[in-house]
C-alpha cells in the first residue's frame, strides 16, 4: 500500500486527530422512522441507538428489510418524501439534531461533514459528466473559495489518494469507461473530498468481486487511519463485518437486537438471531457437501409484524411470552446490549 504522506503539517494534524480517537461524533438515539403505506403507517425503524466514534467503524448488519439502509437514509435526511419520516428519537452531530435541520443546513452538512457511498456506483455517478466534473462539483458546493484550477488540483489529489492509476488522465473519463472497482474508488474520492467526519458506507462492496472487495476494504481502512473519520458500515455480509468493523449493531425487522464489539459478537453472540445468522454462514473449513444450518422461515413483512418480539415466528428458542411482550434492550456487559426476553434463561 501507498505510504502515508509525511510532511510536517499533516503529521501534526494526524497527531491531533489521534488524540481524539474514540470521541463520539454521531449519536443516534432511539431513532424511529415511519413510512405511510396503503395499509396505514408502518414503523420501519423502532428505537435504534448507536454511536459512531472517531477513527472507528461501526457495522450495521442484518438481512434485507431489516432497516439498515433506512437507518442511513434517516441520518442523511434522504428518506423518500412524503412517505418516509423520522417520527422519534434524535441524531446528534456536534450537539445538533440533524433530523430537525432545515434543508439549507442539511445541504451544507451532506457531502461535507457527513458523506455517503452506495452499493452501485454506476447509479450513484452521473453518466453524462466526467468523473473530474463530478469531483469538482463537491468543491464547487462546499469550498466556494476554490477557483477552477484549485478544484482540479484538489480533485486529482483525491483520485491519487484512492489509488486510481494515471489520475490526470482519468480526470476526463466518463463513469462507464471505468470498472466497478474503479468506480467505487471514484465514489470514495468524491465522498472524502471535503474530509468528512463521518462516512456512511451502504453495502459498498456487495456488487464487487472478492478480490476487488479486498482492495476496497483495505483502501477504506488506510484512509480511515489517515483521516480519523468515523465509518458507519452497512452490510449483510458477516465476513466483511469481521474484516473491517470495531463495533456491530445487529438489526432485525427494524429493531437493534444486539450491539457489541466485533470480537464479542463473533465469540459470544447472545441473541438467538445473531446466533442463527452466524451459524448459517458457509465456512471455508467445513467439509464439502454438508448441510448448512439455517434459520427457518423468512423475515415477516413490515405490515404484518409479530406483536411482541419481531423474531418470534423464526426463533428456535421462542416461548409464549415472546409472542405478546416486546423485549427491551439490556446491558449484559459494559458494551454489550441484547434485546431478548429469554436472555437470562438462555445464557
Amino acid at each position: 500500500m501507498k505510504p502515508l504522506k509525511s510532511n510536517q503539517s499533516s503529521m501534526t494534524e494526524r497527531e491531533e486527530r489521534t488524540l481524539l480517537l474514540g470521541e463520539v461524533v454521531l449519536d443516534v438515539r432511539q431513532l424511529e422512522t415511519t413510512f405511510t403505506t396503503e395499509q396505514g403507517p408502518v414503523k420501519v425503524l423502532d428505537g435504534v441507538s448507536f454511536q459512531a466514534k472517531r477513527g472507528q467503524t461501526i457495522g450495521i448488519v442484518g438481512e434485507s428489510g431489516c432497516g439498515k439502509s433506512v437507518t442511513s437514509l434517516s441520518i442523511m435526511g434522504l428518506l423518500p418524501r412524503p412517505h418516509g419520516q423520522v417520527t422519534g428519537g434524535e441524531v446528534l452531530y456536534q450537539g445538533q439534531d440533524v433530523t430537525k435541520l432545515p434543508p439549507e443546513k442539511l445541504y451544507e452538512m451532506r457531502g461535507n461533514r457527513i458523506a455517503m457511498i452506495f452499493q452501485e456506483p454506476m447509479t450513484a455517478l452521473n453518466p453524462v459528466h466526467t468523473i473530474g466534473d463530478q469531483l469538482c462539483e463537491v468543491f464547487r458546493l462546499h469550498r466556494p473559495e476554490f477557483n477552477k484550477q484549485q478544484r482540479k488540483i484538489e480533485a486529482i489529489k483525491m483520485l491519487k489518494k484512492v489509488d486510481i492509476p494515471a489520475p490526470e488522465k482519468r480526470f476526463d473519463v466518463y463513469p462507464h469507461e471505468l470498472s466497478g472497482g474503479m468506480r467505487q474508488r471514484v465514489m470514495i474520492a468524491i465522498a472524502l473530498a471535503c474530509k468528512p467526519d463521518i462516512l456512511i458506507a451502504d453495502e459498498p462492496t456487495t456488487a464487487l468481486d472478492v478480490t476487488i472487495q479486498a482492495q476496497i476494504l483495505s483502501l477504506m481502512k488506510d484512509l480511515q487511519q489517515e483521516t480519523g473519520m468515523a465509518i458507519i458500515f452497512i452490510t449483510h455480509d458477516l465476513g466483511v463485518v469481521a474484516e473491517i468493523c470495531d463495533e456491530v449493531v445487529v438489526m432485525y425487522a427494524g429493531r437493534a437486537v444486539e450491539k457489541t464489539n466485533v470480537f464479542e459478537l463473533f465469540e459470544n453472540p447472545r441473541h438467538p438471531y445473531s446466533r442463527g445468522l452466524l451459524n448459517s454462514i458457509p465456512r471455508l473449513d467445513d467439509k464439502p457437501k454438508t448441510r448448512l444450518n439455517t434459520i427457518e422461515g423468512s423475515v415477516p413483512s413490515l405490515a404484518d409484524m409479530p406483536k411482541g418480539c419481531r423474531f418470534y415466528n423464526r426463533c428456535p428458542d421462542r416461548q409464549d411470552k415472546c409472542e405478546s411482550q416486546t423485549p427491551q434492550p439490556e446491558m449484559v456487559a459494559e458494551d454489550h446490549m441484547v434485546s431478548c426476553l429469554r436472555l437470562k434463561e438462555l445464557s
Binding site: T211, A214, L238, V262, L284, S298, V299
Partner: protein
C-alpha cells in the same frame, strides 16, 4: 466412464462486437477452450470473477448459445450440431436456474401456470394430472400446495427461488445448471436453498453445475471445483484439495480474499492489484501475468497448459507449479 452426464471438449464461445461496414469485427473471447466432465450425482462448481466467462460456459453447454467451436456431449451423444427440434426434446434432461427468480418467472401467470408449462410444452399428462404434479413439486421444495394459485410477486426471494427450482426439476432432468442461484438471497435463506439443492440432488441423482462468485457457498455444495480466469480454466480439482492446497496463484489470491467471519483472522490477505483485463484483448502469455506477484518473463511470453499437479485429477495451468508425474 458410463455415468458421465455431460462432457465438453475444447469449448469456445467468441462473441463478435462492434465492427461495421468498414471496420473489422472485434471479438470477446468469453470462453476460450474449456473441457469438463460432470457425472450424475456430482456437483461441479464453476467460480471466477465477473467477466471470466463462467455464465457463458453454463449457457453454451445448454446450447442457449451456439458454440463457436468445440464439442458438447450429453450422455455420450454429440449434441453440438443437434437440430433445433431434437434439441428441444433434449431440454427435458437439462435445465437451468437463474439468479433472479423474479425475472425468470412470468409475473402475469400463477405459480401453478408457470410450473405446468414444462409439462404442456412437452405434451405430458392431462390438465388434472399436471395440477397434481405441480402440487407434489411445490411440497417437495417446501411450499404449500396453495402456492399454485398465487402470483410470483406474492412470494419472498427465497420462496421464488424454490419455485424456480421446482420448475427446473419438474421433468426429472439429469443435469441442472445453477447460475448464481443463491447469490441474491440473504444468508439465512441462502442456506435453506443450498440444503434443498443438496437434498434434491441426492434424491434424484442430479448432476449440478453450480456457477457462483461466492467461494464459500461453492465449496459447500461442490464435489469438484473449476476456477476460471478470462475464459480459461486455471485450476480444477476436488473441493477439499482445491481449498486446502490451491496451486495456481490466482486460486490462492481468490481464496485468500474471502472475508472470514472471524475478527481475529484479519489482515492476512493476498490483495491482488488491478482488475481483470478485458476479454477482448487478453494479455499475451499467461492471462494472469499482469496481476500475479510471481510472474516471470516466461509467464509474459508463453501460455501455460493445464497439467496434472496432484491426485484425483487436480490440474492447474501455471508455469511455476511443478507438474506431478
Amino acid at each position: 466412464m458410463s455415468d458421465v452426464v455431460l462432457s465438453i471438449r475444447d469449448l469456445k464461445q467468441h462473441f463478435a462486437i462492434g465492427g461495421g461496414l468498414f471496420s473489422k469485427n472485434k471479438y470477446v473471447y468469453a470462453v476460450d477452450g474449456i473441457s469438463l466432465d460432470v457425472k450424475s450425482g456430482e456437483t461441479l462448481g464453476l467460480v471466477g470473477e465477473s467477466g471470466c466467462g463462467k455464465s457463458t460456459v453454463g449457457r453454451t453447454l445448454l446450447k442457449l448459445y451456439e458454440p463457436t467451436s468445440g464439442k458438447i456431449f450429453f450422455e455420450g451423444r454429440d449434441i453440438t450440431d443437434l437440430p433445433v427440434r431434437e434439441m428441444a426434446d433434449l431440454r427435458k434432461e437439462m435445465q437451468i436456474i437463474f439468479q433472479d427468480p423474479m425475472e425468470s418467472l412470468n409475473a402475469r401467470h400463477t405459480v401453478g401456470g408457470i410450473m405446468a408449462e414444462p409439462f404442456e410444452i412437452h405434451g405430458i399428462g392431462t390438465p388434472e394430472e399436471r395440477r397434481m404434479w405441480v402440487e407434489d413439486l411445490l411440497v417437495k421444495v417446501g411450499l404449500p400446495k396453495t402456492a399454485a394459485d398465487r402470483y410470483p410477486h406474492e412470494f419472498s426471494g427465497g420462496q421464488r427461488q424454490r419455485i424456480g427450482i421446482a420448475r427446473a426439476i419438474a421433468l426429472k432432468p439429469k443435469l441442472i445448471v445453477c447460475d448464481e442461484a443463491v447469490s441474491a438471497l440473504d444468508v439465512s435463506v441462502q442456506s435453506q436453498i443450498v440444503n434443498l439443492l443438496l437434498d434434491l440432488q441426492q434424491e434424484m441423482n442430479l448432476a449440478l453445475i453450480f456457477i457462483a462468485h461466492d467461494l464459500s457457498v461453492v465449496k459447500h455444495i461442490s464435489d469438484r471445483i473449476a476456477v476460471m480466469y478470462l475464459g480459461k480454466i486455471v485450476e480444477i480439482g476436488d473441493a477439499e484439495t482445491l481449498y486446502k492446497e490451491p496451486k495456481h496463484p490466482y486460486t490462492q489470491a481468490l481464496i485468500s480474499a474471502i472475508p472470514i467471519p472471524n475478527p481475529r483472522l484479519r489482515n492476512k490477505r493476498i490483495i491482488l492489484k488491478g482488475d481483470v483485463p478485458s476479454p477482448m484483448d487478453p494479455p499475451a502469455g499467461c492471462h494472469f501475468n499482469a496481476r500475479c506477484m510471481h510472474a516471470t518473463d516466461l509467464c509474459r511470453e508463453q501460455r501455460p497448459e493445464l497439467v496434472s499437479v496432484g491426485e484425483n485429477g487436480h490440474q492447474a495451468s501455471c508455469h511455476l507449479v511443478s507438474p506431478s508425474p
